[in-house]
Amino acid sequence: MSARVASFLDKGGTGKTTSIAHLGVALAEQGHDVLLIDLAGKQGDLAKSFGVWENVQTSIEGDDAWPNISTVFDDAWETIVEKLGDEAVEELIVQTDEGVDLIPAHPGLDTLDAELGNIDDASDRYSRFQHFLDDYIDPLGYDAILIDLPGMTTNVTYNGLWAAQNVLAPVEMGPFEAEQVGALREDLAKVEANFDISVDLAMVLPNKVDSRTKLAGEYLDAYQEEYPEAIAPEYVPSSQDIRNATEQGQSIFALENPSGTAREAREAYRTNAEALIERVSED
């Protein structure tokens, strides 16, 4: 089975998508076959991070983006695969220039969430995506599957957590994030108690850290103390290059002349990617 990780924190803007993109590229660089999946919403941010969203959007506008990521949750998915054969799954996957494959988001994730809410049986409601990964993605032989989730708890989010059973929580150095990681840990404990599914907090990843400030150092210490098992080996420094690269549709690994902070960030992603795959493979 592929190693699976979902990026989640019940808060927007902490760098979930950027973390998934960069850890994915770092893993690919280390020789792993990597698939990234965007369940985070209709904006297609993960595909934008690799400059492939424009094509996806053209096919969405032309009503050609079917099947898509929202289709795999449907009762009829098995029938669709029977009719279309291997093409059904192949159709979902887009290749990027940075060595990772990607299943992009689709606007259908929006109404899908409400549709999932109509399924009375909670186990059925939350396990659809897990079945999809087990039955249709695992046979493709990827070493790692990294899933980007919405920055809030929705039915789609729970599907992602169920399927991955390992959470990467990118955090900024602020009081709200610290609180949200605490809440996340409580939620994961509830999931385990109510559904007998163990979802581990695999990595708390301090992100956009400005090491020049005293406050950042204090938060880093606090995270270290609170999550000694889960804290990432390296924090990711704040870097304008990351924002610029993302806007240009690439990761900082693709930059020809990275700045000092971008080089530090690359190293951090490499070390963290290695630790992440080791942690989730131990399960």
């Binding site: 209709k42 099947p67 929006d110 549709e115």
Partner: protein, 126 residues
Amino acid sequence: MDDEIEELKQQTSQGDRLDEANAEQNRHALKSSILEELERIEAGDEQKVVSVWDGPMAALVRALEKHPDQLEKLGHSLQDELGVDEGEVDRSEVIRLALRLGLRTASTEVVEATREAVSDQATKNL
């Protein structure tokens, strides 16, 4: 794409909530207008007649009347496509069926709005 796949696509396509809300609102507005028109017809303010200016179609319909076997065959084929019981057909019935089939093919929402308006009107005095 074969019909079965196209049907699966229609059944399993999810969308954007804002777009869907807009479509729902448009359908509701159309249904209200249909209901108003039905009431005007019921009150005798409007006629139940639809007329179109179309030379070739007028010629075809009159010609079909001269060839009742072909008129009947066409009528039964339309009934079959619409999934209604095969029954007697005349000129008006063939046009009615063709109109309904055309609308259903182009937009199930429009047909659905009409069906709901007719049903609302039928049950309003119960």
